[in-house]
Each structure stands twice: as C-alpha cells, then as structure tokens.
C-alpha cells in the first residue's frame, strides 16, 4: 500500500477499484487516492447495496488521518467526533490523532446498525504534525465491505509471524503453539473460529515498531492476502522486556499498512526464569486473544483507574477495583489478570455485545 505506487490512480471510487469482489464472496475491496479539500477534509463515499453487514475505511498518508463524522444515506449525521473525543467511554480510536494509518469499522455495536442501502459518507480530517488541518494532501483510501449473513459465527484468518530467529527456539515454539490452542479455545466460546498459519520474517526480535508503526510492518503484511490479522511474535517490545503485547489499532486495519500488526513478546510471559509453565502458556494464549480483541475493535470494559469504560451497555461501568474485579475479572478484555502472586484465574469471557463487536469486525467472515 505504498503511497507512491498508487499516485497514478488518483480519483474517486471505481477509478482505482483493483480487486472487486475478493476470493471470498463476503468481502469486497476498493481503493483510490484522494486529496483533502480546502478545509483539510476528505469526504469518503461508501456505497452500500443493502447486503453489507459492515464496512471498514482505512486511510494512510504522510499526514495524520482522523475520523470526524459519519453521515448516513439520509443525510443524517450518525457519528461525530465531538460526542466521543472527551467521553469517558470509548467507541473507536479512529477519532484520535497519532497514527498515519487510520482504520474505522462500522457498525461497532448492534445499536449502530443495520446498514441502510445508499451512500454513506465518512469525513476524515487530514492533520499535520503540529495538529493543524492540512489541505490538498494526498491519502490512500481503502474501503472494505462484508456481506456476512451470520453475525453469530465468524472465521478469522491469522498469520502468526515469528520475528527474526524466534522460530528456531524449540521451547519458545512449543509454548507458542500451546498458547495458540488456548487462543483458539477462548475464541471458539464466542463463535470465532481461528484459522492460523505460521511464517518466518526478518522483523527485529525487539519489536520496536509496536507503538509507532513501521514501513517494515507494512512490507511484512504485503506478503499476505490483505484480509487477515497479523500477529508478530518476538522476544521483547521496543527493548522493554516488560511489555508483553500491543495491538496496532482499535480497530486495526486488515489492509497492509504501518500499523497492521498485533505484537506479542514471549519473554515477558516466560518470566524471570525464562521458561514457560502451564499457567504462563495459558496467559500468553489469553494475551493473544486479548490483543487481537483490541485489533477487532474491543476496548477494555473498564480502564486501569476505573474511571473510563467501553461504549457497551452490558459491560458494567464499575468504579472500584473490588466491584470491577468481581463483575469483570473473568472477562477476556479486563485490563489485568486476577492473580494471587503464584497463580492467575482464567479470563475467557466476553459479553454478548463484546461478541457482537468482534463479529462485526471486517476480518471476521
């Protein structure tokens, strides 16, 4: 998805429609290059014929694309950044400045859908490094639509990518394979079928791109189909062996870009002795499921200080650690595992609305 390669096909949707309906009939994709107007905005039209159950808009640029509004076919504004930017509840990171590759999946919740036929418009602001609107700047726009008749079941393809040399350590490989089985088990409880494949890569084992994104991430992702999650397994993240997992976005894009990755560091899971026991393998599997949950649009039901929450109605807006641990401690997306120094309780649960968010993600087919 390198910008330079597609500059030749500047135009509106259709002009750069390079793939049409993908191999899997549920998913279609179109792309084009657009430029921001005098107000620093790109208005992205998304044509829906009534069969779509969800769409994703991905925007990548040398500037910072930020979601401002979503307008329905009837001209009504159904979503605006002003309602969410300072909210204590989180719906999507697409509203926030900070990455050069934005992804927006809609609908997020059941209450946000179903999608009416017609032309939806996604208003994206192009922001420069100083936080100002930037006019007449180019961005690559990709629109995915899925026509998935069953939002109770979904198959998610995942590419599990070893950072350089990491797939050679038999103990780490064995632990990772068992952890993936835990990930599969947790997702299966919620109607998500994991279909994974394993790959080597030249990505650094010190996963330095995790926070900021990287052209190397995009280069790695471009090897694949552009319709799957990419989980990178390395030794540590950004040189800090204490960080154990990061998602490239909430949600992240299935289109290869700077942030199309979930990263998991095995060393932080193995602990001070560097060897895995069964509990640590289970926790690593739950980390994989947790981080990929973020990538598919799930926030923590409550944040660390018990003062911010997701936007779902069936995850308790608890306010103290006792009540939060009691009500949400077994939730997969809880911000920390419930442990007693020597063991941790399993965290496999998702609420009905959390399942819905993950099933509406464009990559759950």
């Amino acid at each position: 998805m390198t910008l330079l390669l597609v500059l030749a096909c500047i135009g509106k949707p259709g002009a750069g429609d390079d793939s049409g309906v993908a191999a899997d009939d549920m998913l279609s994709r179109e792309s084009w290059v657009d430029s921001s107007n005098r107000d620093g905005m790109i208005e992205i039209p998304v044509e829906l014929d009534g069969s779509a159950s969800a769409f994703m808009v991905s925007v990548e640029s040398d500037y910072y694309p930020v979601l401002e509004t979503l307008t329905g076919p009837d001209g009504r504004t159904v979503l605006t950044w002003e309602d969410w930017y300072d909210s204590d509840n989180s719906l999507t990171y697409a509203f926030f400045w900070g990455t050069k590759a934005m992804a927006f999946n809609w609908p997020v919740r059941e209450v946000d859908g179903p999608l009416a036929a017609g032309t939806w418009t996604v208003g994206v602001a192009m922001i420069d490094g100083s936080g100002f609107y930037a006019n007449n700047v180019d961005a690559e726009v990709i629109v995915h639509r899925k026509a998935d008749p069953d939002l109770a079941q979904g198959q998610v393809r995942a590419r599990i990518v070893w950072a350089q040399g990491q797939g050679q350590d038999p103990d780490v490989v064995a632990a990772a394979e068992q952890a993936v089985e835990r990930w599969r088990e947790v997702w299966a409880m919620h109607g998500l079928t994991l279909v994974e494949s394993w790959h080597d890569s030249e990505l650094s084992s010190n996963l330095g791109f995790a926070d900021s994104g990287s052209a190397k991430v995009e280069e790695n992702a471009e090897r694949f189909d552009g319709r799957e999650l990419i989980l990178v397994l390395g030794e540590s993240i950004s040189g800090a062996s204490d960080t154990y997992g990061i998602a490239g976005g909430i949600p992240g894009s299935i289109e290869p870009n700077l942030n199309s990755h979930v990263t998991v560091a095995w060393l932080a899971h193995a602990g001070t002795n560097g060897n895995f026991n069964d509990d640590e393998i289970r926790l690593m599997g739950e980390t994989m499921a947790h981080e990929c949950g973020h990538f598919m649009g799930l926030f923590h039901p409550v944040e660390w200080n018990y003062d911010a929450w997701d936007a779902l109605d069936d995850t308790e807006d608890c306010r103290t650690w006792q009540s939060c641990e009691n009500k949400l401690g077994e939730n997969l997306m809880f911000p920390y595992p419930i442990c007693d120094w020597s063991s941790c309780a399993p965290q496999p649960d998702l609420t009905g609305q959390q399942k819905g968010v993950s099933q509406r993600y464009i990559g759950a087919l």
């Binding site: 540590s236 060393l267 001070t272 002795n273 926790l283």
Partner: protein
Amino acid sequence: MSSLILSLLLVAAAAAKPEPTAEQQAVYKALSGRHESLSCTELDAMSSDPLGTYLYLIEHATQPAWVGMRAARCVMLNHAEAARPQLERWVVEPELRGLGLLLVGQIDELPLPLAKELAVKAMYEGPDPDGMRKRIARARTPEIAALAAPAATTP
C-alpha cells in the same frame, strides 16, 4: 512423627516466604496490568524501600510473570549500582535466564562501566554464551557492542 516433620517444613517454608507488606502489595497490583504501567519513578514513590520491594517481587511474585520482569526493569533503570550483586547473578545463573535476557536486551540503559562488566560476564560466565554474544552485538552503544566482536579481549 511424620506430621510433625511436615508441620516443621511448612513453618520453615512460611518463614522463607514472608507475607508481602501493603507497599509490596500495592506495587504488585500496579505492575499486574496488561498494558499501561506506571513509570519506574512513579513506582519508586510508592515504596519506602523501592529496591527492596522490587527484589521481593522478583523473588516471590511468580504470576503474572511480567510483574517480576517489570520490577527487574525498574531495578535496572533506577537502582543498578545498588543492585550490582543481583544483576551479576541475573546474567550467570541458569534459573534466572529470563532476567539475564531482559538485562542484556536493555543493556544500553545501564551505566556504561557496569554494562560492560555485565556484558563480559554474560558472555563468559553465563549459561548461554553464544546467545548472549549475539544479543550484545546488537547493543546500540558501540562500546558495548564491540565487546561481542570475535577479537574482543577476554576477561
């Protein structure tokens, strides 16, 4: 008789693993999070004896595994000189392999003289000399990375 011996063993085990203090409990909880964590400076401020708290967590907080690793990182960043004996153990004792990998992975964060001493120790006295040499060769600090060169001086 056997029950008496068992009781004595349990008492001995309990004595070897003192109950965590309220400060240690608080730092443990702060380090348990799946993502964001307080900075080491903020964590230091939670304890009257931060180094002692971190070393206690490294030894006794086995789950989640990243608590001990995060505590170890704070030892490296804020208390490296005071913890020199412990850091030396991390790079040579096989049962502390994870701490050794953490230390070598972040060796650029240590004061240079100490970093160089520990790099040499890891490469010549540790359980995985070749693996440590490869990691040290990737250090950002040229003086440290140079220690892993084939012609570098042995200790």
